[in-house]
Symmetry: C2
Subunit: 144 residues, 2 copies
DNA sequence: TCGATTTCAGTCGTACACGACATAAAACAT
DNA sequence: ATGTTTTATGTCGTGTACGACTGAAATCGA
């Protein structure tokens, strides 16, 4: 039995599990809104700045375009966004919020704090603050 | 623009991204072995203790059985495990390593350290140590 | 300027991940 | 003992994720 092969010694497993469980904790909120976690991330990006090409959204999420494209197509079917041909660069597809997509920001604005309250039951806000730079360095380092 | 809705203020997005990027960093190693990241986790569990029912594996990974079952079926097709009916409780399916599955432990034993060396290029080993209890508390709290 | 290269978005195939549901077997209650 | 409930596993449908690849458009290079 190699010590380094124990599941409990794997940082990666903890990250993978924590990410899934937190996404799961968002579940009830997203169900109400009729969206999923990755769709929520796309909305966050578009609420910050509307009308972005697929590529910018994908890069921001560190996802491949072949993941983001179907995701956006589903969001378009649900009436949250539209995808219009770029005028300057016709290869691009510019993703724009619909009125329904814009309106959802009001519905979503309390979600982070409610989730935060849930999380802080288990870990202190200070610990939470400490984790952020660590994850940022990790992400930056593995970005490729 | 609600401050709490900025992507950069979301802990969850960092966890989600870090988990995906680390799993991606494992990619080349797994490709050599012909397995995936979740399959690797199952192998870790079985290398610790062979012959476990589906449910124990699922609980250990915090996954649903309807995720683990197909995963095990694929691993069976690849000749890494067998799934035999439980003798005490015939509802159970006991998952057993094949010789190929056991042999893979030798092939995998250096992966964690090699990955660790990669990660430590970007974050110190101390920071890494500090993150573990945080993630454990988070996971325990959200376990449900 | 025009052929080679790169970039943008997309399709396709495979593998998770999970909610809803199904089925059989074990455990429980009366 | 037998009907009810719970448990273990599984199927099915939907939605990510990503590698390999494609087609069209922009860019680059000689």
């Amino acid at each position: 039995m190699y010590e380094q092969l124990k599941l409990d010694n794997q940082l990666c497993f903890r990250l993978y599990t924590a990410a899934r469980l937190i996404a799961g904790a968002y579940g009830p909120y997203f169900e109400t809104l009729g969206i999923t976690y990755p769709q929520y991330l796309v909305l966050l990006i578009l609420w910050e700045k509307d009308q972005q090409p697929v590529n910018d959204i994908a890069k921001r999420l560190y996802l491949e375009t072949n993941t983001v494209t179907p995701l956006l197509q589903r969001m378009e079917r649900q009436g949250l966004v539209t995808r219009v041909k770029g005028e300057v660069d016709t290869r691009q597809r510019i993703v724009c919020l619909t009125e329904a997509g814009k309106a959802m920001e009001e519905q979503a604005k309390d979600i982070p704090n409610q989730l935060g309250a849930e999380v802080v039951k288990h870990v202190s806000a200070d610990e939470l603050k400490g984790i952020i730079p660590f994850l940022d360095k990790l992400i930056e380092g593995l970005r490729d």
